[in-house]
Structures are given as C-alpha cells and as structure tokens.
Amino acid sequence: MAIQVISSCTIENDEIIVNGDLLFSIEDEVLSEFLKLAYRHLNLSYPKFFKMDKLCQLAFLGTEYLLKDNDITFTDDDVALCFFNGQSSLDTDAKHQHLINEGTKVSPAVFVYTLPNIMMGEIAIKNKWYGENLLILRPDFNFEEWALEADLLISSGKAKYCLGGWVDVFQDNYQVQLYLVEAAGIKMKLTSI
C-alpha cells in the first residue's frame, strides 16, 4: 500500500502556507505574538489556546489551518496522529527548570507541557479524536521516513487517515510541516465501482 497527501501545511519564516497557498503572514513579530495573531486570524473561540506552550500552539495552528477547508467527515477514531519532533519539550522544560533553579514555586501549568506528546493531546481534544498516537524524536524532518510510519499505521488497519509530520520549536526558532494522508487509490476505487 502507498499513501497520498490530502493536504499539507507549513509554518515557517512568519508564514502559514496550506496546499501551496499563503493563508497568513506577518513580519517582524516575536514568535508568541505571531502565534496569537495567527490564532485570531482563524476566528475561533478556543480560549485554551492561550494556555498552551509554543510547541502545542504551533501543532494546534498547523492542524487548524490544514483542516480549515477540509470537507472530509472523520469518525472519532479514523485519524492517527504521528509526529516527529527535534527538541522535545525543551523550550518549556527550560522554563520549569528555571523556576526550580530560582527556588520559586514551580507552575503546574508549565510542568504539564514538559512532554512533547501533549501536542497530540491538544489536537485530539479539539477534534474529539480517539485514534492512535505516536511521537518520535529525531534531529530533523524527512518526509519519506514520516510517510513510512504513516503508511504502516494505515496499512496495518489502525487508522484511515494519518495527520502529523514535523513540529519543532526552541526559543524563537520554529518549524512546522504537517500532512494529512490516506491510503493511495481509495478514491479511484470508489469512483470505478
């Protein structure tokens, strides 16, 4: 079996691009402001967004932009989430460690984000998706290797769709490359019946 890409979304260099179209950009903003403005641009009412750390905000925005004009109706366990990530939750880990080093009380709201897989939890909660979760740490993104993991999740019958790719952030450096994929050939089969 092989997979085909239904949609893709990249967030880098102050731009959000979905399927090749520039959907949002703003120059000369710090990352936290860029993320807030990108969220406002979606006209969502989801106050939890402001509680998330940058890793989760990036994954959340990537997914929301990617699904914005999507017309597929997913049942609740159709979608596997599979993410590659480079620097784990180290951006937030450093905040938690800083509080410890300062001798001040640590923040439960910071600590809870000191795990990279929380971003999959945020996406699952927003979309009510109960499907598979997999997070692999690696130094860089390679689409072919990610596609191999997505293919396995789909071809083994564990999911119909796989959403994921690359989300990485440390301080002001970030990169998101997300894909929604399905088994190749499904649509052709349906139309040929």
């Binding site: 106050p47 509680k51 923040s107």
Partner: protein, 84 residues
Amino acid sequence: MSLQEEIKKHLIDQLNLEDLTPEDIADDQPLFGDAGIGLDSIDALEIIVMLDNNFGVVLQNPEQGREVFKSVNTLADYIVKSRS
C-alpha cells in the same frame, strides 16, 4: 485597587485568560463549571501557586479549593481570613 480587583488581575495574568478583562468577571461569578469562566483542574492548581506567590497564603489541602475557589468573593474572604 480593591482586593477583588487585584485577584482578578492575577487570575487573568497567571491563568492566561487572554480574552477576559477584570470587568468581565463578576465578583460572585462561578470560576469553574459551565456556568463559570471555564477554569479546569490545572487552573485550580495554578491558583494555589498564585495565592502563595502573590498573597502569601498557603493552601495546605487542595480539597479546600472546592469551597475557596468558587468565586472571586470566596477567594477574597479566604485571603482576608488567612491574613488575620
């Protein structure tokens, strides 16, 4: 600034209630649950930290939070009582 206003400012700041201003939160409005401003269990833990850091009040038992965290008014009462 009244104690109530001070509490609201800290709540908004600490809990990242980005879309709310102190005027949006009534003194007796429930903080948790559907009728309230939608706080959750992590927010409750964060309020415990806020009480300690900003008001010097230590909540020993998180179970107490159920009563104390009902509204801005109950938080203010607890702070006043703990300080006296």
